[in-house]
């Protein structure tokens, strides 16, 4: 069962989720796992997990974002190697190339993959914003879009069997790449985070929430919808398109726990989840849970802490 893993290398940097894809590919195929890593000339594959074999594919366009070129490369490599599984991070790149690859190779797509049981012939995917898990019979060929943070990783660079290939072509569409704005806030560096979600975060509530953070000795962080609503700066966003944090204490207040958010915080040492929905996925990673109205709990906490 040959697997071909496509590493996600925006701006010439290997993404963390690429290693989840490598781990998934290894589970599927063991020694038949090849990792294809698009890189600009001179860049190394720092942080990329070992596959049984690695192919570093070079073109200056890979210093930016060139999904069409990566898709063409993946299709050619899949056909040449006879790969039965294409394993790609469930990222912007994965979404940009999977449709065309699926049609070209006649490979069905399985998204949000969080587990593989080859012996039982099963794939596991997150469904309904993480509220449920789906089991899917392992098909004989597929494109798997793998969720970040889902697979245990080994922490090694590309192995001994590494080849380099030159890729022809150029990417006329690329304009720029930008990093998140640096601010004084570094939520990765603080021991306690009070993280607010859609369930509690409004303009009217923000003062109270900031007061609670202060009383707890916490820095305020937030889920994506709260940042998108302009209530909190981007630097405080936890999740797939924000920061990945591992504080001593993470209090998730009014956050349902969509997979994109869990990816960014589930390895916190102690997790407290406060949500009025007892089925919220956040309780699946919590050490302490409270199923009650978030702002009523906030008011009671402020009173109890002497605010």
């Amino acid at each position: 069962m040959t697997a071909l893993v496509i590493a996600d290398t925006i701006g010439g940097r290997v993404s963390e989720a690429s290693n989840d894809a490598v781990a998934c590919g290894t589970l599927l195929s063991g020694a038949d796992n090849t990792v294809l890593c698009p890189l600009p000339p001179g860049a190394d594959a720092a942080g990329l997990e070992q596959g049984a074999k690695s192919i570093l594919a070079r073109n200056p366009a890979f210093a930016g974002y060139a999904p069409e070129m990566v898709g063409d490369l993946a299709a050619a490599q899949a056909e040449a190697s006879g790969a039965r599984y294409l394993v790609i991070p469930n990222s912007t790149l994965g979404m940009d190339i999977c449709g065309r690859l699926s049609k070209a190779l006649d490979f069905p797509v399985v998204a949000n993959v969080i587990g593989v049981d080859v012996e039982a012939g099963r794939l596991f995917s997150e469904a309904y914003n993480g509220k449920l898990v789906a089991q899917i019979a392992l098909p004989d060929r597929a494109i798997l879009l793998v969720n970040g943070g889902a697979f245990a990783q080994q922490g090694a660079g590309p192995g001994d069997d590494t080849a380099e290939i030159a890729v022809a072509g150029e990417n006329a569409s690329f304009v720029s790449i930008s990093e998140p704005k640096m601010t004084d806030v570094d939520i990765k560096a603080v021991p306690i985070l009070l993280s607010i979600g859609r369930g509690v975060a409004t303009k009217a509530n923000l003062d109270q929430l900031q007061r609670l953070a202060h009383m707890l000795g916490a820095e305020l962080s937030a889920s994506r919808p709260v940042v998108d609503a302009g209530l909190v700066e981007k630097a405080r966003q936890v999740g797939k398109s924000g920061e990945t944090v591992q504080p001593e204490l993470y209090i998730a207040l009014g956050i349902s726990g969509a997979p994109e958010h869990l990816q960014g915080m589930k390895n916190a040492r102690t997790i407290v989840a406060i949500n009025s929905d007892p089925g919220a996925p956040i309780f699946g990673v919590a050490d302490i849970g409270v199923t009650a109205d978030g702002m009523e709990v906030v008011e009671a906490l402020l009173e109890g802490l002497g605010a």
Partner: protein, 259 residues
Amino acid sequence: MKIVVFARIVPDITDELDISQDGTGIDREWIGATLNEYCDYAIEQALVLKERTGGHVTVMTHDANGDDKILKTSIARGADAAVKVSLGLNEEEGIGAFDLAKSVADAVRALTPDLVLTGVQGPEDLFGTFAPYLAAELAMPVLNVVTAISVEGRQALVSQEHAGGRVTERRVALPIVAGIQMSERPPAFVSGTQLRAAMASAKVDAVDTSRIEAAPLAVAALEKPTRKSGVRFLDQDPGSAARQLIEALKDKGFLGAAS
């Protein structure tokens, strides 16, 4: 410029979900249907583009609970036309992204769009999302996780978000399909008066076609996720829960000494 927004109607998963009797789907009897949140942003972004650069916006959806209201509300928000593609679905039936793309592609193509917008993902997209499949059917490029889009002549300048908040910008020739992550402004509020007027007068064009059932994979079983063992649930009364939580945090050394 002709913009088509395909707005998906999806199950409302705000509340707890029950698994269906056969164990392979969700029990839809007691949950409502709603406009997919990201498709709401797609509608709004189409209207932003129309205001800025002119053009014609058609909002399209398939037959589902609330279809007419969603389409007529789009007209009230500023869309120029609304189209319902009837696939013959019954009220409690869902349709996956793969089948939906194959089923509606002809209807979208018939409008000869320069730009097709849709939400970046929906809650039931286990087998891939809608935008990539629709783009493959239409033989158009697709750009996903779009956080900003503008049009100049026959080119779109598109910002896409990646892990860690990095953003890439690309300039691509139209026509394209874009999977919208967020719009430049929040979706507009439509007053009751505007909505009633739209429901009374807005016209929805109908396209009748058949559902194409071609999805090669299916769910074998659905289950609740495994919870971390040893989760301690506190009281449900907020006051009592707060007191218990403060004590627990003190015990763990996060607050002052335990009382």
